[in-house]
């Protein structure tokens, strides 16, 4: 079963546990500035929203890469950056419509979410289940269930 990250902003409290988990998993330090997932705060609305790569099927970044450094991970379906091949040209960061591929000045390469090879650390760390790793064909299942419950209670 192919799985995908499901992000539910209404459950997010803005604690940044996901950013720390991501940066530690990938860089070996607790460092939100090196996280592939970001939590945005909309202060005046009192809202928080985690955001990261949705692993597009026809990935702009992959097609844009001139050296074929971005490849499909057959196991997870993620689009992974092969660091040894990446030349840091940043064309993928321009191609991505969502801004989820970013340049890392320390390494001279780009970084993006690779689903941690199938065990995403952000989902593991999220204390409120705002980030979960679920069946990619049914990311709407819980929302469907919630609305279904409403129709039951109304009838």
């Amino acid at each position: 079963m192919l799985k995908a990250l499901q992000l539910e902003p209404e459950k997010c409290t803005g604690c940044l546990q996901c950013e720390m988990a991501c940066s530690y998993e990938n860089e070996g330090v607790f460092n939100p500035s090196k996280s592939r997932i970001k939590v945005f705060t909309f202060h005046d609305e009192g809202r928080f929203a985690p955001y990261t790569c949705s692993q597009c099927s026809e990935a702009w970044c992959l097609h844009a890469c001139p050296v074929e450094a971005i490849v499909v991970n057959e196991k997870t379906g993620s689009k992974d950056v092969i660091e040894d091949i990446c030349v840091g040209c940043k064309v993928c960061t321009i191609a991505c419509p969502f801004g989820t591929v970013n340049y890392n000045a320390d390494s001279g390469k780009v970084i993006k979410c690779d689903l941690c090879g199938g065990e995403p650390a952000c989902a593991e760390a999220c204390p409120t289940d705002a980030i979960t790793y679920v069946d990619a064909d049914h990311t709407g299942l819980e929302r469907m269930r919630a609305h279904a419950a409403q129709t039951v209670s109304k009838s």
Partner: protein, 616 residues
């Protein structure tokens, strides 16, 4: 090691920023944050200095777990000599700037001297620079925050700043970070402004690495998070209700200080409670509470994000207060509401917004307004003094006008900004000031919770609930239930809470975790992150060492046994209602036993044997 091992020393007089190594010998004894910075302060200043002189120093300190994945690991503290109390001040704040300082590669920042012109510190990783504060001096914290964010075009910078209240000398001014988190008590913001330091702007992209044993750290922090989520208080009560979960509980046990602590129960408590914050209001059908929010790394998320009723009188033609911002915590709701007899939730929320906007302590402010209201009732203060404000108990208009005046440092707000001790002395009724060591009481009446009376009287920073929160044991039964109306065992209980809390406050973690965690849960996290041998026992010993160090500072600053007391009202006037009806606080039964259990002499001075045992 989870320390960065680096201190930034900022000399404001000379306008220099210099790096120096963290004293690791001290870190092994005092851990970090509160303990370690208190050690630096003790070594570097004469405790007798005027708190608002250039000779005082102000330290912003993180703990070893700040900036890590440990739950609540985002705290920092501000340590200095307090202008409100003359004692050592240590104000702890969450939000995000503490972690950002650590991410930038620093354990603490020591500010010394006084800048010739208003400045702010810009800190980006290794680069530290003092910049002219011309654009932001005289502005509110929120305005300064917006101007600086616009200037740097970087949404990820974190900012701590003082508001107009601090610039105008309000003695309980706070340092506000991330718009609505604050190092709130004891006037640490007043000290910052006295140094002509308006703000600290931080961007850290270096991260916190080098955890001693990563595998053990992930295991210990994960287990700790599970304990928090499984606990009724930290897993459910605080996220859903916030600290305001206490309002109805404390009122029922008859420990809700009301109308300047004349009474112990407030008839309007339910209207300003957590439950009331969830109720949809008439005007727009929205509740006061928008959401709960977390500080850096916190898996509890007790923070309140609120809005004010758009129809409320306080915000007509003031669009800047329409959006969501930091809402009422229990202490603020009590001080602004119950202690003044005001049950208007939106007026309290508005006053709370102002306290964040211009940086002042809502506890000290509310209690000072309460004292002013009693003075007004007695006729000692009249509308001539107040500039026409009718300062009657229960008047929301009086509260919100007073808040505006304190924020701006104008009119009667200047007198209210002195705090209740100085106000009551000035108008001839010193006994009406509900303070210890000049600092106003928080929201637990010590007639109904006996241990808190001793905790207030002996707190090293003046009246404070966060130095030894025996409410946990006396009301909530954590870790064991004790009788709130009895003094038996309280000296030892207070000491144990004080020592453990000093250790938690020095680690980078939030004291609210201790509703669920004991040092048995915390020590493994510290031990996995840090060098040294950190066990529950060694942490408790460090806590006791820190407590005695703070005591040493205060004694050297001229405080004595006579300062370890409570206002007469709490010792002589019995509670009128509730379970504690007919009771006063029996401090005299507890204090001598407390000194004894601390290894202090009858004057409250640590004996040579005690200091030697603790290696202070």
């Amino acid at each position: 090691m989870a320390w960065q091992r680096r201190i930034l020393r900022v000399n404001l007089t000379d306008e220099t920023c210099v790096e120096e190594p963290l004293n690791m010998d001290w870190a092994m004894k005092y851990l970090g944050q509160r303990g370690l910075a208190s050690k630096y302060l003790m070594e570097e200043i004469d405790p007798l200095v005027d708190a608002l002189s250039p000779e005082n120093k102000l330290i912003m300190a993180t703990g070893p777990l700040t900036g890590t994945m440990a739950s609540t690991g985002g705290r920092y503290s501000v340590i200095t000599k307090s202008p409100l109390t003359g004692a050592i001040a240590c104000s702890n704040s969450g939000g995000f700037i503490g972690a950002e300082i650590k991410q930038a590669g620093w354990d603490m920042i020591i500010f010394e001297g006084r800048a010739p012109q208003p400045v702010y510190l810009y800190l980006e990783n290794d680069a530290a620079e003092l910049c002219s504060a011309d654009e932001i001096w005289g502005k509110t914290v929120w305005q300064a925050d917006e101007i600086l964010h616009t200037k740097y075009q970087d949404p990820l910078i974190r900012i701590a700043a003082v508001g107009r209240a601090a610039e105008q000398g309000c003695l309980y001014s706070a340092i506000v970070n991330d718009r609505h988190r604050a190092a709130g008590r004891s006037g640490v913001g007043t000290v910052m402004a006295s140094k002509q330091l308006k703000a600290v702007v931080v961007r850290g992209t270096k991260g916190v690495g080098g955890v001693r044993d990563p595998k053990a750290f992930f295991k210990a922090t994960s287990e700790g998070k599970k304990v928090l989520s499984d606990n009724a208080v930290t897993g459910e009560g605080l996220p859903v209700m916030g600290t305001q979960v206490l309002m109805n509980v404390i009122n029922e046990v008859g420990a809700m200080p009301t109308r300047n602590m004349r009474e112990v129960q407030f008839e309007g408590a339910s209207k300003i409670s957590a439950e009331a914050m969830h109720e949809p209001r008439e005007s727009d059908g929205e509740p006061n509470l928008v959401t709960n929010a977390a500080c850096f790394g916190c898996t509890i998320a007790c923070g309140r994000i609120s809005t004010i009723d758009p129809q409320h009188y306080t915000i007509q033609n003031k669009p800047e207060y329409i959006g969501a911002s930091g809402g009422l915590e229990y202490e603020a709701a009590w001080a602004l509401g119950s202690d003044t007899g005001i049950d208007d939730l939106d007026a309290l929320t508005y006053a709370n917004f102002l306290c964040n906007e211009d940086g002042w302590d809502p506890i000290s402010f509310g209690a000072t307004v309460a004292a002013a209201m009693e003075l007004f009732e007695l006729g000692a203060i009249t509308t001539e003094h107040t500039g026409g404000i009718d300062m009657s108990f229960g008047s929301a208009e009086a509260l919100t006008k007073a808040a505006e005046l304190v924020s701006a440092g104008e009119g009667f707000g200047i007198e209210l900004g002195m705090g209740s001790k100085r106000l009551c002395e000035k108008y001839g009724h010193p006994d009406l000031s509900m303070t210890v060591k000049g600092q106003e009481f928080p929201a637990y009446d010590p007639r109904g919770i006996q241990g808190m009376g001793l905790a207030y009287a002996t707190s090293n920073r003046g009246a404070c609930h966060l130095r030894g929160y025996t409410v946990s044991s006396e009301i909530m039964g954590v870790p064991v239930k004790t009788d709130p109306l009895s003094t038996e065992g309280k000296p030892e209980l207070v000491k144990a809470f004080q020592d453990a809390t000093a250790a938690v406050d020095s680690s980078g973690l939030c004291v609210f975790t201790t509703f669920a965690w004991t040092l048995e849960d915390i020590a493994p996290q510290v031990a996995a992150a840090c060098e040294g041998s950190w066990t529950p026992e060694s942490m408790l010993a460090a806590g006791e060492r820190i407590w005695n160090l703070e005591r040493q500072f205060n004694l050297a600053a001229g405080l004595t046994r006579a300062d370890d007391t409570l206002p007469k009202r709490l010792l002589k006037d019995a509670a009128k209602t509730g379970p504690a009806k007919g009771m006063v606080n029996r401090l005299d039964e507890m204090l001598p036993l407390y000194y004894e259990s601390r290894g202090w002499d009858v004057e409250g001075v640590p004996t040579a044997a005690t200091l030697s045992r603790l290696d202070v």
